[in-house]
């Protein structure tokens, strides 16, 4: 990260004037060739074993873009995004609460995290679904009144169950992020007459994001997979749809592979998004931003072209 001002120009064609540039034979890494061959052979073996199994592979492309499957994918994404939104907003509030000097808010935040982190999310989901045993009606005064079982739809159960649980985990991630920002930043902001809230929003949180984003990307991917649990509360997301189709079409195992392929595809897309988000929040922290994958590929192509000449 020192002086690489000429990077954009690619490697220079002419060596700099003055001392002759060093031309040395690079170290050969034979171990890499051997391990690559072994890895490819093992992968090939596994693929061969699966292709010989009693699995009707043709069923997967047949159903891959089936309307029911696409609907399930859509609902999985919807639940993932909304639960994560609840989780992130709740997490920031809880983290600020825990770090607050106010003993009431810090105790409440501590208790919340203790409870939601200490019980399994599957249990929480089922409890939300059955909370009608405790509250027969939901009554929000003049605004809303209904029976619990009508109010707590599978969608709402999934959303609250996953979102509120996620908030507890996000709280700890956000707290680590907030603590990572130098105290001098808060002091400088206060010295300029900025309030606690403004300092937090304008100065501390944007800097904390560098620490918060990578583990949050992890959480998003985790959430995407955890949504498969909400099939137990009758919400027909990807996993449940795949199971349903599997039972009626007579290809249950194939549909599980189909679901796995979709999950893998979605997590891959999220990973790319995370990369760009991290790059955005890295601005100002290093002198030049890391290259995007496209820029990297372009640079590699250029260097290959130069190397051949």
């Amino acid at each position: 990260m020192t002086v690489d001002t000429d990077k954009t120009d690619g490697p220079a064609d002419t060596p700099p004037a003055g001392p002759e540039a060093i031309k040395a034979i690079p170290v050969r890494h034979y171990g890499r060739y051997v391990s690559a061959v072994i890895a490819i052979a093992l992968l090939g073996g596994v693929v061969y074993a699966f292709s010989q199994g009693r699995i009707n592979w043709d069923a997967i492309p047949d159903y891959f873009f089936d309307d029911r499957v696409l609907g399930g994918v859509g609902r999985t994404l919807l639940i993932t995004v909304l639960s994560m939104a609840i989780g992130i907003v709740g997490g920031i509030l809880l983290a600020v609460g825990r770090l607050s000097r106010n003993p009431v808010t810090s105790s409440i935040a501590w208790f919340y995290i203790w409870f939601f982190r200490g019980t399994p999310v599957l249990v929480q989901l089922v409890v939300w679904f059955n909370l009608g045993l405790v509250f027969e009606y939901i009554n929000l005064g003049p605004f809303y009144k209904d029976e619990w079982s009508d109010f707590m739809t599978p969608f709402l159960t999934a959303l609250l169950g996953l979102g509120l649980n996620e908030a507890a985990y996000m709280a700890e991630i956000c707290r680590a992020g907030l603590l990572s920002v130098d105290e001098g930043q808060t002091e400088a902001s206060h010295a300029l007459g900025m309030s606690h809230a403004k300092t937090l929003r304008r100065i501390v949180i944007p800097q904390a994001m560098r620490v918060i984003v990578p583990p949050t990307g992890n959480e998003v991917i985790n959430m995407l997979k955890t949504t498969s649990l909400v099939s137990v509360v009758q919400y027909s997301e990807l996993f449940r749809v795949a199971q349903d189709i599997g039972q009626t079409s007579g290809a249950p195992a194939e549909m599980l592979f189909l679901a796995a392929a979709w999950y893998l595809l979605l997590t891959s897309v999220f990973s790319v998004g995370q990369y760009y988000l991290e790059r955005y929040y890295a601005r100002g922290s290093s002198r030049s931003l890391p290259a995007t994958p496209f820029q990297k590929i372009k640079a590699n192509m250029l260097s290959l072209a130069n190397w051949r000449r």
């Binding site: 130098d182 001098g184 930043q185 002091e187 400088a188 902001s189 206060h190 010295a191 300029l192 007459g193 900025m194 309030s195 606690h196 403004k198 304008r202 100065i203 944007p206 800097q207 929040y281 601005r283 100002g284 922290s285 290093s286 002198r287």
Partner: protein
């Protein structure tokens, strides 16, 4: 130079746990003067500076800025703690420059300078930008407006920090060892900006190890040691002809 006191300290005490850092500070900073605080590290000079804008709470005594009590409101013989928002309101008028610059690293130099005027005073962005441009020019960094702090040298960062503090039009500027974290060859640029500021009539309280600056620009000087004011007076007199034994020992080491 008027004779009203911008900062007035009466028996100011400050402890961190069981450690008493300030043991009764009495001093007065007149409006428009450059007031230098010198002394060995751990003598309490930085702590005292931070008490002036209430980054530290004092434990005993009274501290006034522009005739108003710092951090408290007096009604009869009772003291009431100020709310955070009231403290923030008073800090608007007091600029502070830190040893470690403390620029906001996620903002460009220009964004650093306009942040407080826009967010705290509600100045429009265009107006703030224009003013920030002038301030950056004043500190000699007009061409660095779009750079992030990490792309600037220490001396440049500190000058942006001074511009950032000036953007709030403070009536008092506090400098906490502004050149101590800089390479020797960069110190001069920062001191030039401070000298220029002093000539414009700004009231400045400067904690410093730059005896040359204190002698040349300072109007008053205080030597602190171990939480008390040991000696004070005209900088030229104190620095050339120190009366107190402790001052003599300190100056013989740094001059």
């Amino acid at each position: 130079m008027s004779t009203t006191a911008m900062v007035k300290a009466e028996g100011v005490h400050k402890s961190f746990g069981h450690v008493e850092v300030l043991k009764g500070i009495d001093l007065e900073v007149k409006t428009g003067e450059v007031f230098c605080l010198i002394g060995p590290s751990g003598s309490g000079k930085s702590t005292f500076l931070r008490c002036i804008n209430h980054l530290e709470k004092i434990n005993a005594g009274r501290l006034y800025v522009d005739g108003e009590l710092v951090g408290y409101r007096q009604k009869g013989d009772k003291l009431y703690e100020l709310k955070d928002s009231e403290v923030a309101l008073k800090r608007r008028d007091i600029g502070m420059v830190f040893q470690r610059f403390n620029l906001f690293p996620h903002m460009t130099a220009l964004e650093n300078v306009i942040e407080a005027p826009v967010q705290v005073k509600g100045v429009s962005k265009t107006e703030a930008r224009e003013r920030a441009g002038q301030l950056l020019e004043r500190v000699g960094l007009a061409d660095k407006a779009k750079n992030y702090p990490s792309q600037l040298s220490g001396g440049q960062q500190q000058r942006v920090a001074i511009a950032r503090a000036l953007a709030m039009d403070p009536k008092l500027m506090l400098f906490d060892e502004p050149t101590s974290a800089l390479d020797p060859e960069l110190v001069g640029d920062v001191l030039d900006v401070m000298r220029d500021l002093a000539e414009s009539g700004m009231t400045m309280v400067v904690v410093t190890h730059e005896m040359g600056f204190a002698r040349e620009v300072g109007d008053s000087l205080v030597f602190m040691d171990n939480g008390v004011v040991v000696e004070s007076g005209d900088p030229r007199e104190v620095l050339t002809n120190p009366q107190h034994e402790r001052t003599q020992a300190f100056l013989s080491k740094v001059l």
